[in-house]
Amino acid sequence: MAASGGRTVGSFLWKCGNCCFNFNTVSSNLTRQVLSRQLCVSAVLHRKNLAAAGPEKFSEEFIKKQVEEFNIGKRHLANMMGEDPETFTQGDINRSIAYLFPSGLFDKKAKPLMKHPDEVFPKQRAVQWGADGRPFHFLFYTGKQSYYSLMHDTFTKALAVEKHQDRLRGKDLFTQDAKQISLVGSRWLLKEELEELLVETISEHDYARFIQLMERLLSLPYCSVEEDFVQRYRRQLEIQSSKQQVQPLQYDQHGVAYSTGDGKQRKTATGTVLLRDSGSGSISINGTNYVHYFPVLQDREQLMFPLHFMGVLGRFDMQCSVSGGGHSSQAGALRLAISRAMLSFLSEGQVETMRQAGLLTPDPRIKERKKPGQEGARRKFTWKKR
């Protein structure tokens, strides 16, 4: 079983390599690097651009055959590894290939890969002209038919919205405060994403014109009529607060809840905090009381900032350790460590509030480097006229 499985996988890979080799000689513009010793079509895998140049290289039946072979190969691979063929994911495939073909090579493009043919062979359009040589699409000779047809569609929609508005004005039902499309929380498609959608390469100028036209459509008061069309070209932005890593609460032997804030950097100062939910509000830094360690009021205020913001001033006991930097940076590092430790005690909404107050972002400001030809980061040498 294993032997036959190996042969089938090998045959799949060999066939793949064979086809790729053929295409290497035929279409050199597809594979930029000439890799004659390929186990799989790795070069095409890493291509970011689309096969917009030229007619299709792989026919429909070829791709279908590749998909079938890939699926069969996947099942054989699952059997070889002793796992369930039904629930064999791409991650499992990658692991199995890395196990069966251990590669000490550094170049990612030289390592053996096994991926679904849709990811391997770039998306391309079917042949654009009929048997008599006449193209199907009326904009074929512009060279960018999908892009121009999209622009025409958008403009037609804008005209339709204007017509709708005129009709409403005629019936005296026109109001300025019609329902607007909500644009907060989403962004326009990027140029790469648009290229992927249209299966065509477009220039920066084209992309700018497209965005301009969409903005023009959105400037009409009744644009909510075409909301679906607009939303197709927008992507949702992810909610930032979901990116915070909240560690679960830990309990020590007396049942008191505690949590640690990991060492946080602020301008070469690192601090760690152990927050204990005991209710006394005592703070000790590197063994000494915080009043003695931070004689400056501003630093102590920074320590209190997250606690005061959440209204839990007297609740926590803190044992902090800090090193490096000056007194301000140590206070800043401790503030961030305290905020992170507090996250495990708070709810989702409170985490988002803390983030919006600027407590959870590590401060990226560092000392600016000295530049050559100047005395410092900004200070220039004394200017001498001669």
């Binding site: 990027l190 930032q240 919006q356």
Partner: protein, 229 residues
């Protein structure tokens, strides 16, 4: 999310180093450290505030600076004044001077309060923060002058000032006045409290300087059309 957008969330140095740049990407928004803002219920928000909240939930936020807290004693105007008074990065001394100034002002006002007759007691302002803000307001110029070159000569043209510029000028005049025109034995906080109390009652050198600027602008009214913005 495309790969290019994750690059916006790291501390960066811009490709072309301009004179004013920051380690934050322009994608980051300013933080809001005050507590009360977050306790307003949903129903009392205007549509713009709702939109702003939604925008804040998808954008990364900058870290709050060291001089900013959520406490009631945190005053952005006062922090700006402390920074302007600071020399060589010594904030401890500058903050100490300001604290002593406020205490001094309070002492003087309380003394005046106790000495005043019953009818006048209500008019005397004892809150040093209120005095400071009112004094600064009284020192802010309404109109400023800009040096514009036309036909080989430089003319002083009256121009409108932004809020930030006005506040900066008021603070700058206050500090330079206190540094230059004082007896060498008077301490800074003493002189500053005198000036602030004088500005509060619209007397003193700083208010005089503001009036002079206004007069100059009034006298140069003829050149106002030289301004093109």
């Amino acid at each position: 999310m495309a790969a290019s957008l994750t690059g916006l969330l790291k501390p960066w140095t811009p490709r072309v180093l301009l004179v004013r740049w920051s380690r934050y990407n322009p994608y980051y928004l300013e933080p809001e450290p005050r507590k009360e803002v977050y306790h307003i219920p949903e129903t009392e928000l205007t549509p713009e505030q709702k939109e702003e909240r939604e925008l804040k939930s998808v954008r990364p936020i900058k870290a709050a600076t060291n001089s900013v807290t959520s406490s009631v004693f945190n005053d952005p105007v006062l922090s700006k004044f402390v920074n302007m008074m600071m020399k060589d990065g010594d904030k401890i001394i500058a903050k100490g001077i300001i604290t002593q100034t406020l205490e001094n002002m309070k002492r003087k006002q309380v003394e005046k309060y106790h000495k005043a007759p019953e009818g006048k007691k209500a008019e005397i302002e004892c809150n040093p923060y209120a005095i400071f803000h009112q004094a600064l307001e009284n020192c802010k110029p309404v109109i400023g002058l800009a040096s514009i070159q036309k036909g080989g000569k430089f003319y002083q043209v009256p121009i409108p000032l932004t809020d930030n510029r006005r506040r900066f000028l008021a603070m700058k005049w206050m500090i330079t006045e206190c540094r230059d025109n004082k007896h060498r034995r008077t301490l800074m906080y003493e002189k500053l409290s005198q000036e602030l109390l004088a500005a509060f009652s619209k007397e003193g050198n700083v208010v005089k300087r503001k009036h002079e600027l206004h007069k100059m602008a009034e006298s140069n009214r003829a050149y106002a059309h030289y301004r093109w913005w």
